[in-house]
């Protein structure tokens, strides 16, 4: 049989217009579910981005407890000889404080009551290759430094992971629940709209319409509702992403939030595909179930 796209689309649009309220319900449901899914992806993308940029960090810092400047010099000289190391810088208490003041020059309240000595002196070791950071940390531990005296990327990553894994799994769980809820809500909305039109469908079947012929307009309807709902949600997610990046740059300057962490076109595509999929699958399943009954 000829596939009459124009006819099916006209039918779908007519159904949407005649059942506007039901369509709005389905679109709103999709919107909310895709929005939550998108926010979940956003958070996990940014966390991955931060972990990635920390891993790219090529420095290891040593904070020798109560070290004199001679001890600092000795340490710096020794470390400079190691093959993994490209450059070593000593940072005295005063320099550390100056750097801190410089970083937060917009917020003088942060440091106006602080003493010079509050920030410890350190030796900053720049590496040739970020991959060797853990080896260098091990070597420093053999020199008598404890884990607490060191700051190197893996430490930060471990700390980040221990905090964020809980957050990320929570988000995944919430996203999964929302996805299940959205499939149920949408197929329920479609089932209601089919139930309202059950006599119509029975008549269609009586005049010889095949299951596919009855189903196609409903599937198009689900597709359009999914498309509109998810497109709006995806645009909202991307907008929220830019708001977040701007806010993070101002409020969390030492957190490496980057707009490269989120691939906006890919995010848009993923969310729209998910929404359209929910709409198509939801409507297909509920019409098929109904058609089996008559």
């Amino acid at each position: 049989m000829r596939f009459n796209l124009g006819f099916f689309l006209t039918e779908a649009f007519k159904n949407i217009r005649l059942n506007l309220l039901m369509s709005l319900t389905a679109v709103t449901t999709t919107f909310i579910c895709i929005l939550v899914l998108g926010l979940g992806l956003l958070v996990s993308d940014h966390i991955q981005g931060i972990i990635g940029s920390v891993r790219e960090d090529v420095s290891v810092e040593v904070f020798p407890p109560d070290a004199t400047s001679q001890e600092l010099d000795a340490l710096a000289n020794k470390v400079e000889g190691w093959p993994e190391v490209s450059r070593v810088t000593e940072v005295s208490e005063g320099e550390a404080f100056a750097e801190f003041k410089d970083q937060f020059k917009d917020q003088p309240d942060l440091y106006k009551d602080l003493d010079q000595g509050v920030l410890p002196a350190s030796v900053q070791i720049q590496l040739e290759d970020p991959g060797t950071a853990n080896q260098v940390a091990e070597k420093l531990k053999q020199e008598g430094f404890t884990e607490d005296d060191l700051s190197y990327p893996q430490q930060t990553i471990d700390r980040l992971n221990s905090v964020t894994s809980v957050v990320i799994w929570g988000l995944y769980g919430a996203t999964l629940l929302f996805l299940i809820a959205s499939v149920l809500l949408i197929s329920n909305a479609i089932r209601l709209s089919i139930f309202a039109r059950r006599q119509e469908i029975e008549v269609m079947k009586l005049v010889g319409a095949s299951d596919g012929f009855v189903r196609t307009p409903f599937v198009f309807e689900g597709l359009l509702q999914g498309l509109v709902g998810s497109l709006l949600a995806a645009l909202a997610v991307i907008w929220i992403n830019y708001l977040f990046i701007d806010w993070a740059h101002d409020a969390l300057p030492f957190v490496p939030v980057s707009d490269a962490a989120v691939n906006a076109p890919l995010m848009l595509l993923t969310l729209v595909v998910a929404g359209v999929g929910i709409g198509v699958i939801g409507s297909f399943l509920s019409v098929t179930r109904f058609l089996r009954k008559i």
Binding site: M1, K205, L206, A209
Partner: protein, 228 residues
């Protein structure tokens, strides 16, 4: 054209709607199924349309045994049978002409064919001026004429009607019957289930009388009741 072999239909466990019915309808015949409510007329119509299966016996329509027609072939079977109902069963969100066109669209006919054929058939049933009206804006008789136009637009070999005049006043009923008669005259097999006594007596066609699920009389050029 239509053959019932020893057909029994039982609803639920104990409601016998049809009991060992044997009935043969030849091509081009006009047959009235008459009887009181619950005598089994509608059950016969619904069995012909394969809306349900008989409990026993076999039914042949157009030489195919209905019990061996798979579910996915039912739409094709229904396109061979135009059907008209007491409650018209029009699609409420479509105009008269869209309702008729729908029956052609399900068979995948060309838009151009549909556009020329629909006004012709609505003209034939005398509704060409109201083709853009919705069912709710039409009278009962007009709606029934739309449903006959829909049943007949693809020129199926068989047309079945279940109480087509049941909701209509006598004058309107005459028009509907004349329409069915005209459709029969061009070669369509017409089966009409009715308890419209006057109509059956006037038409003088084959009458199959049913009582409590059995055929009690089958008479060519018959009347509604036994003539003594």
């Amino acid at each position: 054209m239509i053959r019932f072999n020893n057909v029994t239909k039982v609803y639920g466990n104990d409601t016998v709607a049809l009991e060992r019915i044997n009935l043969e309808i030849d091509p081009g015949e006009f047959v009235f199924l008459v009887g009181a409510s619950g005598s089994g007329k509608s059950t016969i119509v619904r069995l012909i349309l394969k809306e349900m299966e008989p409990s026993a016996g076999s039914i042949f329509v157009n030489d195919s045994r209905l019990s061996s027609v798979p579910r996915r072939r039912v739409p094709r079977l229904r396109r061979e049978i135009g059907c008209v109902f007491q409650d018209f069963k029009l699609l409420p969100n479509k105009t008269a002409s869209e309702n008729v066109a729908y029956a052609m669209e399900v068979t995948g006919q060309k838009r151009r064919t549909i556009r020329t054929k629909v006004p012709q058939i609505l003209d034939l049933v005398g509704l060409s001026v109201k083709m853009d009206k919705y069912p709710g804006q039409l009278s009962g008789g007009e709606q029934q004429r739309v449903s006959i136009a829909r049943a007949f637009v693809s020129q199926p070999p068989i047309l079945v009607a279940d109480e087509p005049t049941g909701n209509l006043d006598p004058n309107t009923s005459v028009g509907i019957m004349q329409l069915l008669h005209r459709i029969n005259r061009i070669g369509t097999t017409v089966v009409v289930a009715t308890h419209d006594r006057e109509m059956v007596d006037v038409m003088r066609k084959r009458v199959v009388a049913l009582d409590e699920g059995r055929i009690v009389r089958d008479k060519v050029k018959g009347a509604y009741a036994d003539e003594v």
